[in-house]
């Protein structure tokens, strides 16, 4: 059983359906108390950092997230969930949650051939093992849609990288919190594998 945090940011039912496919029953909730009591939590998100932060603070979900992360609850962040976990995002010049040290930057516009957003399938290269990345092989690709990318302050929190214009951190984590820039719920077999790994993860590395 898991709770998917609902803060008006994206298509949560896609995440819910993919969880169901790997046998993880997931409830969508906007109630911070439901999130506090959940055995595991998914923090998804699609959209802009500014609107997402306003919504999270209004609902008191920022405090709930801090609480469950200190309490050791396994948490999986996805896409915008990952981005607003850092200290700051260039998107909307926004101060974000600060669950992980670092910032989020925009893909450069210097190269005229570079399409933004980074949209499509790209290789996720595991740079240090993590229980959630078990079974992910070299050459495995995941689905991405994003115009901004994370720059973690601490390199030991980077678990996978992906090349778009340059290498960026595509999976990050610290203790019981793990987050992906890509969308496991839209990444076919390998994405479902990651969600299956999450469904049994105890929050340790």
């Amino acid at each position: 059983m898991a709770v998917i945090i609902d803060y008006d940011a994206g298509n949560l039912r896609s995440v819910q359906r993919a969880c169901a496919q790997v046998g993880l029953e997931a409830e969508i909730s906007a109630d911070p108390d439901v999130v506090r009591q959940a055995p595991r939590v998914i923090f998804p998100g699609v959209g802009a950092a500014g609107a997402a932060m306003r919504s999270i603070r209004r609902e008191g979900m920022d405090t709930a997230l801090r609480d469950i992360i200190s309490a050791g609850t396994p948490v999986l962040g996805i896409c915008l969930g990952l981005q607003i976990s850092f200290d700051y995002s260039e998107e909307n010049d926004q101060t974000t949650l600060g669950l992980l040290p670092g910032k989020v930057c925009r893909f450069s516009f210097d190269q005229p051939d570079l399409k933004v957003p980074h949209m499509g399938w790209n290789e996720v290269r595991v740079v240090q093992p993590h229980p959630l990345l078990a079974g992910i092989e070299p050459g495995d690709e995941f689905y991405f849609v994003h115009g901004y990318y994370p720059v973690p302050a601490r390199s030991e929190q980077i678990y996978a990288v992906t090349d778009y214009e340059h290498d960026f951190a595509s999976a990050v984590g610290s203790g019981n919190y793990f987050a992906t820039q890509f969308h496991p719920e839209k990444s076919g077999r390998v994405g479902l594998r990651l969600l299956a790994n999450f469904s049994t993860w105890d929050g340790t590395c």
Binding site: N11, E123, G147
Partner: protein
């Protein structure tokens, strides 16, 4: 490095699969849910459903199809056809569509792009453009014109201008569908595709005219497209999704080869 995408388009009419040739004479070719599942298992990168249902009272059938597909297909799912309002876009998103395609209604009322983009996220709004070649004129300097209503109504709007305007209004991606090439199986309209792809910063999907694997290779190299859309090539079993991806990979196009 980002892979190029192979996208299969399923035209759905009254909940059943149809394939049109030059936008007329549509005929049913099967169950869309089953086809979607088959392509997903065979390595398809993205799926597009186009609702060509004529009567509005049958529109809800499409939501059921989308929902059934979303339950078993875990790749991006894009849906279009008859999207006229934010409510239409939201309904499709709730049913399980990742991306919403807008076409005719956006040409008639351009703020629709910005409204949908605001409501469901710019990255999820695909501006689908039906385009035909015309004599270059003051009105259509690029020599390409926007056509609406399934290819029936020329609008006198320059296609290159509309592509850039769509990007400015907040579309996250463009489909360049050549009416001239559609159904011919003689290849994509490469000049048009490259012209638009180089004029915008958002991804471009080449559509219309694919008949052979080399056509896809051309669209993704010479045509500078980020994705190639196919329909009849795979619907009738002449080619498979995995076979096309293998061909592209073997011919120097970066594709996702493990699934």
């Amino acid at each position: 490095m980002l892979s190029k995408r192979l996208i299969a388009c399923l035209d759905v009419r009254d909940g059943k699969l149809a394939k049109s040739v030059k936008f007329v004479d549509t005929k049913d070719i099967g169950d869309p849910v089953e086809k979607a599942r088959e392509y997903y298992v065979d390595g398809l990168d993205e799926l597009v459903f186009y609702d060509i249902t004529a009567s509005s009272d049958k529109r809800n059938i499409m939501l059921d199809v989308v929902e059934a597909v979303a339950e078993q297909v875990f790749i991006p799912l894009s849906v279009g056809g008859g999207v006229r309002s934010v409510a239409d876009a939201t309904d499709l998103r709730l049913a399980g569509a990742e991306k919403i395609n807008v076409n005719s209604a956006a040409v008639l009322r351009p703020p629709l792009i910005a409204e949908c983009s605001e409501a469901v996220g710019a990255q999820n709004i695909v501006l689908s453009m039906d385009i035909r070649r015309v004599e270059a004129s003051a009105r259509c300097p690029s020599g390409y014109e926007i056509v609406i209503n399934g290819g029936r109504k020329p609008m006198g709007i320059d296609a290159l201008w509309w592509a850039q305007e769509g990007e400015r209004l907040g579309a996250g991606e463009l489909v360049v569908n050549s009416i001239d090439a559609d159904g011919t199986r003689e290849g994509y309209e490469l000049t048009l595709t490259a012209m638009i792809s180089q004029a915008v910063r958002i991804p471009v999907i080449a559509s219309g005219g694919a008949g052979k694997p080399e056509h896809l290779q051309q669209a993704l190299t010479v045509g500078k497209a980020d994705a190639a859309l196919v329909a009849s090539m795979v619907h009738f079993g002449e080619y498979t999704v995995s076979g096309l991806k293998r061909y592209l990979h073997d011919n120097g196009v970066k594709m996702r080869m493990s699934w």
